[in-house]
Amino acid sequence: MNDSLQDKAALYALGLLEGEESRAFELAMAKDPDLQALVAELSDTTAELALTLKPIAPPAHLKAKVMDSIIRSDSHSGGNARMAPARRSWAMAGWGIAAAVTVSSVWLFQERQRLTREIAIVTNGEAEARAELLDTAAKLASIQQSEATLKQQIAAATQRDDKLNRELADAKSKAAQLAGEIASLLKRNYLAEMQISTLQSTVDEFKQGVAVVVWDSDKHEGVLKLEKMPPIDPQNDYQLWVVDPKNPAPVSAGVVSVDAQGFAKVDFKPVDIVSEAAKFALSVEQKGGVDKVAGPIVLISP
């Protein structure tokens, strides 16, 4: 048993605990047999201190007053077992009633004992319920604190998530920008390697025709676009030629068929290796084309 509880036991034995403090101690004592035993011992010790004083007999009239008081108190209480001697003759006359009262008193006494036990049980239950309530309140406070901590952590994580999302969006934007820059650079590089030639004619019939050749020397291929080309004999075809200074004869790049409006757009690839496309020429050849230029050159690049 701790000192604090012993302090209270000593104060209780001396009658020094008051009000709520005294009731709280009695609750604690009700469920602690050791504490009950200690209080009983200290109460006996305290009471025996009265014996150390020099006894003083109270005035004789005081006893008469006390005895008179108890007789009157019994008289006022309606005539129970504690009747004054002067009234005993009446009691004798009503012996049966007295016996009944005695039985009732015994029953009441037993009933009182039972109620006292029940009150003690209820009191214990109340003390336990209070303890449980305090325990629950403490747990609730702990849970609330944990909840608050988790909310703080969630808020911090959300902030970090938002920041990461912003950084990711920023990075994507930069990547897209870089990709655009790379595409632009590639396109510029591609165009730089392209050779564009416009073919012209000295023949009146073909002067209104427009012919443009885009030549990719790396890929060794090109695109020919014709517009407003005059119709030719159905037995003939236009044929494109690539003039290579290192090659004694122009290299055929295939025949070209134009539509009714004189329009055509074809991809072409020379039949032989071309080291350098110095010029492009368009001739009119027999249907299906020829290996070497045989017909008239109608358009040629400068």
Partner: protein
């Protein structure tokens, strides 16, 4: 085989109280004769007033008569039970006077020293005499402990009042009272402290 109800002179305190609870006025009268001298001395000491001591003594014994059936021998001795009743009544009166008044009274009139009562020749001759044992035990207490117990027991001062009167911390008062009572218990029981 026959049983005999002891006379009131032979009866124990508990017997008398049980009989009083059953309405036996002669038993109650005998109990009064046994208990009233030490209780009257205690009331006079606590209240410091003859008339008030008589009033409380009368109230107390009427209370004992009316509530004798509530006495529980398993929890206290009859005299202990009576002392608690009378002290509570005296303390109620003292507290009704007001805190300042009772502290001034306590400071002006230190209580009769519990251990100072002269040891009689009978006490000296009879080592088992209960009063002598208790007095000797009180003498065995350290001064501070004895003084604080006297102020609370004989003057009805609370531990707060004692701390103020003696200008010491409340914790010191509680500790001294606890240690003093425990030591007193051990000494009275004959054990070592």
């Amino acid at each position: 085989m026959s049983t005999r109800t002891p006379t009131v002179q032979d009866a124990t305190d508990e017997d008398l109280l049980v009989r009083a609870a059953g309405g036996d006025q002669s038993a109650f009268s005998a109990l009064y004769d046994r208990f009233s001298p030490p209780l009257f001395a205690l009331m006079r000491q606590m209240l410091g007033d003859e008339t008030e001591a008589e009033d409380v003594l009368q109230e107390g014994f009427v209370y004992v008569w009316k509530h004798a059936s509530q006495f529980d021998a398993a929890r206290a001795k009859p005299f202990t039970w009576a002392v608690m009743i009378f002290r509570h009544k005296a303390i109620d009166r003292i507290r009704a006077r007001g805190r300042r008044a009772r502290m001034e009274e306590a400071a002006a009139e230190m209580p009769e020293n519990l251990a100072a009562a002269p040891v009689s020749a009978d006490e000296a001759a009879d080592a088992v005499d209960r009063v002598a044992i208790v007095r000797e035990a009180v003498r065995g207490l350290p001064g501070e402990q004895r003084r604080m117990i006297e102020l609370s027991f004989l003057k009805g001062l609370t531990h707060h009042d004692i701390a103020s009167t003696l200008a010491v911390p409340l914790g010191t008062v509680k500790t001294n009272i606890r240690r003093g009572l425990l030591k007193l218990r051990d000494l009275v029981k004959g054990g070592t402290q």
